[in-house]
């Protein structure tokens, strides 16, 4: 016969407390009347609709009251500001916490917005397609071949334009003799017909610019124009040596010219660049669709043409094409969306935390609220007043969060990092601003309005009469889950951060390498010339010898050596097979850090063999027997201290069907930094350097080498202008800088985890303090009746234990998950340590939580029963 339970619960939740009984009685009375008149089914339906209508009207009415009831009178605003200032620590903690949460959520939102908005940011940008060329058999990327490119451009009808481009670092020789390695775009000139970039001065590239025999030309981008030429329009027509070729500058592109990639110099691509196909040519192919064109039709036609082309050329493997609109995320945005959801989750936890602080503080003001109610203030007005304070803090936090987010994103954009699509629009737009306002208001509701509603839900009249009122927690589950979530989050983040930080900074990474790194320059070089694979190694060796001898002629320089590995950085992990398994159990294939180093590498580092010998000059001859060196940690770890000299090892290849090339171990060297952070990854192998287009030249000086940097740059350029000097620095500074990066990242994670942990403890303290204060009278009665302190404390301590146990268990799981994710995804390696950190952390959190519970409880236990009974 009664009304639906949910309908009663709804009205009980929404109606003002003094009207609840009357309204539910009315609902019941009318419901019974309806049952008699219209039957049970219709009565339930009508009553349900009525309950919803009543609830909605009450909510609308309450909102209207709040908005029209002088929501922000001058005196209330002043009071709110005064309360913020009077509690500087809590206000600061709340603003920082909300600011961090809002900043993180906004950063994630902006990134996702950019990723989900894949069109190139100019008219016609949606017609551009990326065309990836893969080997049909292996699925590996294939380089673009001239014949195939010509066939496609001549025969493809499904695409309006086929362009190709690549970026390389080339040396630009300035008038003052300074050499600046500059990112240079080599692009099909005809592509400019489809790009919207209007030159600031001069012209863009024209199709004839790429033809054989034409005068070499170049465009520069606004950034370089401003930096090197002071925006002088006279730069057009001048000549510049770019990568060893004198070119006439014919125009200046605006800074927005960032597609297909960031580059400060743009030069026309010549088809002859494709005539000598070689790995490392690295031209990427793209197309422009006609109006209404589809990537799939392009893919089908180009693939078909590619098959015919391969059939006509025996021995040529067909290609596989993958064509998609530029920026098409192809499902890769999903992890990003998860990140945003997680970041918003962090914000909710943070807002819940602030809410707990506000609740606890509001509890102390209940008498004041009761008096104000008695003087005629409505509940809506009190809620508005209490929320105003959080709204002010939220507004400050929202502003700070937005500022931090924009600074971070702007730093990301300005870094012009190669792996960030340059056309991603990360600037502040209306949607981001709306999102910030929305989450700030949301955080204000969670942190301000809900606690205020809860604090004012008490029957204030009862309070004034000395009763306890009904100011129990409105969302008790909300409090519990917030505290548990915070503890879990803090232990997960803090444990992970501590383990990574300790791994990086505590041991191996913090050691000093026993090498004269202060006297060594590290010169990162790239050969920009295209060389066919069969002559590349010898050409590079010749070039290398020329560069080495030019550098060694500089006064103050003792020696130099080329290497693929810089001491103190992570050497690549290479699959190796060690011959024979008689002495020790070594897996057939072992991934070991393997450094390819040039002649004189160990001598330059003052390293002496522990056993056997170092590499000799004749070890680098192609016909010489292959040799290898191993380091001491490898001997200890894999050879169990047994002398490995004479043992053989070789690189395991994917198609291991050719003749095996074994390297004989001829010596043992000390540990010279094969890993930046992980001792377990420092046990490795050295092989002779066989020539590569990118390598590092280590240069040993007879003193601090900083002043020699310009001389080294010039010596390299004069010897071979096609060798780009990417970076020159003192080795010791590079090691320090790398260590600093680890330190900053590790510290930031640790600080974040610590902040969340402290916030969760403060939150727990606030909740328990509120609870204990509310129960002061009850505790007084129990003490008067002879209850012991232990019995009174037990429920509180049990609850704290439950918080930490549940939060700690979830947090440990989360931390272990984060660690495995970090190991799988972080470029930086870190050692694995035991999960003891998490156990210690949970125990620490339990101790701190008990302390947080003990402080308020002790106060209550210390007072005499009579005083306790006079409380409130």
């Amino acid at each position: 016969m009664t009304t639906p339970r949910w309908a009663r619960a709804l009205i009980r939740r929404i109606a003002p407390p003094h009207q609840v009984e009357g309204m539910i009685g009315d609902l019941e009375e009318v419901h019974r009347h309806r049952i008699k008149k219209r039957g049970r089914a219709i009565a339930i339906m009508l009553t349900a609709i009525e309950a919803l209508t009543i609830s909605f009207s009450l909510l609308v009415n309450r909102t209207r009251e709040i908005l029209s009831g002088g929501f922000v009178t001058g005196s209330e605003a002043r009071l709110a500001l005064r309360l913020i200032i009077r509690n500087p620590i809590m206000s600061f903690a709340s603003v920082v916490a909300l600011g961090v949460g809002i900043g993180l959520a906004t950063t994630g939102f902006t990134l996702i917005l950019a990723i989900l908005n894949p069109k190139l940011p100019f008219e016609g940008g949606d017609r551009f397609v990326d065309i990836r060329i893969l080997d049909e058999e292996t699925g590996q990327p294939r380089f673009l071949e001239a014949g195939l490119y010509r066939l496609w451009t001549d025969a493809a009808s499904t695409v309006e334009h086929l362009g190709a481009a690549r970026t390389r670092v080339l040396n630009v020789l300035h008038d003052n003799g300074e050499i600046e390695p500059t990112r240079t775009m080599e692009i099909t000139p005809a592509t400019f017909r489809f790009l919207p970039f209007v030159p600031l001065v001069g012209r863009t590239l024209q199709p004839v610019d790429g033809e054989r025999g034409m005068e070499p030309v170049a465009l520069i981008r606004e950034n370089l124009w401003e930096r090197r030429f002071g925006r002088n329009a006279g730069v057009v027509g001048t000549r510049a040596n770019i990568g060893g070729v004198d070119r006439t500058i014919v125009g200046v592109l605006p800074a927005e010219a960032v597609y297909p990639a960031f580059a400060d110099v743009w030069i026309p691509m010549s088809l002859s660049a494709l005539d000598q196909p070689a790995p490392g040519t690295d031209f990427s192919l793209f197309g422009v669709l006609p109006e209404g064109g589809e990537p799939t039709t392009v893919q089908a036609q180009l693939t078909s043409l590619g098959i015919d082309w391969a059939v006509d050329r025996p021995g040529t493997r067909p290609v596989l094409l993958h064509v998609r609109t530029v920026g098409d995320t192809d499902g890769t945005e999903r992890p990003g969306i998860i990140v945003v959801v997680v970041l918003i989750g962090v914000l909710v936890v943070v807002a819940g935390n602030v809410a707990n602080l506000i609740v606890a503080r509001t509890a102390a003001r209940r008498s004041e609220l009761a008096v104000r109610t008695a003087l005629g203030a409505s509940r809506a007005r009190l809620v508005a007043q209490l929320s105003l304070e959080v709204l002010f803090m939220g507004a400050i936090a929202g502003g700070l969060g937005l500022l931090a987010s924009q600074s971070l994103l702007s730093a990301v954009v300005q870094s012009e990092a190669e792996d960030i699509p340059p056309w991603l629009d990360l600037s502040l737009d209306v949607r981001t601003a709306a999102f910030v306002i929305l989450i700030t208001l949301g955080a204000t509701v969670v942190a301000g309005v809900l606690p205020a509603m809860r604090a004012t839900k008490a029957d204030i009249g009862q309070q004034l009469r000395g009763g306890r009122g009904t100011a129990g927690p409105m969302f008790k589950w909300f409090d519990h889950s917030m505290i548990v979530a915070q503890i879990a989050l803090s232990i997960g983040i803090l444990g992970t951060a501590l383990m990574i930080h300790h791994g990086w900074m505590g041991g191996y990474a913090a050691r000093d390498l026993d090498i004269p790194s202060e006297e060594i320059l590290s010169v990162s070089l790239t050969l920009s010339a295209d060389l066919p694979a069969d002559v590349a190694a010898d050409s590079i060796k010749t070039m290398l010898r020329a560069v080495e001898s030019a550098v060694e002629r500089i006064p103050g320089i003792i020696s130099s050596s080329a290497t693929r590995h810089v001491p103190g950085s992570d050497a690549p992990m290479v699959p190796l097979i060690v011959e024979g398994e008689m002495d020790v159990a070594i897996p057939p294939i072992q991934h070991l850090p393997t450094a390819r180093v040039g002649s004189g590498f160990f001598e330059l580092l003052d390293a002496h063999p522990i056993a056997g010998r170092l590499f000799r000059v004749d070890d680098y001859d192609r016909a010489a027997p292959k040799v290898a060196l191993v380091n001491e940690p490898l001997v200890q770890r894999y050879f169990k201290g047994v002398n490995p000299i004479g043992r053989r090892l070789r690189v395991a290849r994917a198609n291991d069907d050719g003749p095996a090339v074994w390297h004989e171990v001829v010596g043992v060297v000390p540990e010279l930094g094969l890993s930046s952070t992980d001792i377990e990854r420092a046990a490795g192998v050295y092989l002779p350097f066989e020539g590569d287009k990118s390598f590092t030249l280590l240069v040993r000086a007879n003193g601090p080498p900083g002043s020699l940097i310009p001389l080294v740059r010039n010596a390299v350029f004069v010897t071979n202008p096609e060798v780009a000097v990417n970076h020159v620095g003192v080795l010791s500074e590079g090691i320090k800088a790398r260590r600093k990066v680890y330190f900053i990242i590790g510290s930031a994670f640790t600080a974040l985890g610590a902040v969340v942990l402290v916030m969760s403890l403060i939150s727990m303290y606030a909740i328990l303090s509120f609870e204990v204060t509310r129960r002061t009278r009850e505790i007084g009665v129990r003490i008067a009746l002879g209850a012991t302190s232990v019995r009174i404390l037990q429920p509180v301590l049990n609850r704290v234990g439950a918080y930490v146990a549940v939060g700690g268990a979830i947090g440990t799981g989360l931390g272990l998950l984060l660690l495995s994710l970090a190991r799988a995804t972080l470029v930086m390696r870190f050692p694995s340590t035991g999960s003891g950190t998490f156990i210690l952390l949970v125990m620490g959190a339990l101790f701190a939580a008990l302390l947080a519970a003990w402080v308020p409880t002790r106060k209550v236990l210390a007072i005499r029963p009579v005083e306790a009974l006079q409380a409130e």
Binding site: Q19, G22, M23, I24, D26, E28, R32, E50, T53, I54
Partner: protein, 111 residues
């Protein structure tokens, strides 16, 4: 004069409460009374919010009656019209009469 001016629906609620009297005036019969006399459909939610508003203005007072079985043991929140409420009704009626004056030949008498 006019400090507690009431709207049209507020006037109807006040009149219904006066008619029902302090012992019988609560939301359910107020709705019925207005519906029966005016012929228009009235939502009880609107009566609740109007009663809240009138109480806020001090024109009525509400008080809990005795629990009643036909209401599932719940009491009725009864309405008493305060003297300012009676004055507000009189003022509204006077205003209507004043505006009506002279229009009898066009739209007939007020009653």
């Amino acid at each position: 004069m006019g400090a507690n001016r009431v709207g049209e629906f507020e006037l109807l609620v006040l009149l219904a409460a006066l008619r029902l009297g302090p012992a019988e005036a609560y939301a359910v019969p107020i709705v019925e009374d207005i519906e029966m006399r005016t012929g228009r459909s009235v939502r009880r939610a609107n009566v609740y919010t109007t009663l809240q508003r009138l109480e806020g203005k001090g024109l009525i007072s509400t008080w809990m009656g005795e629990p009643r079985a036909e209401r599932g043991g719940k009491a009725r929140r009864l309405v008493t019209v305060n003297p300012p409420g009676v004055d507000a009704v009189k003022e509204a009626a006077a205003e209507i009469r004043a505006m009506w004056g002279g229009l009898e030949t066009i739209i007939g008498d007020i009653a």
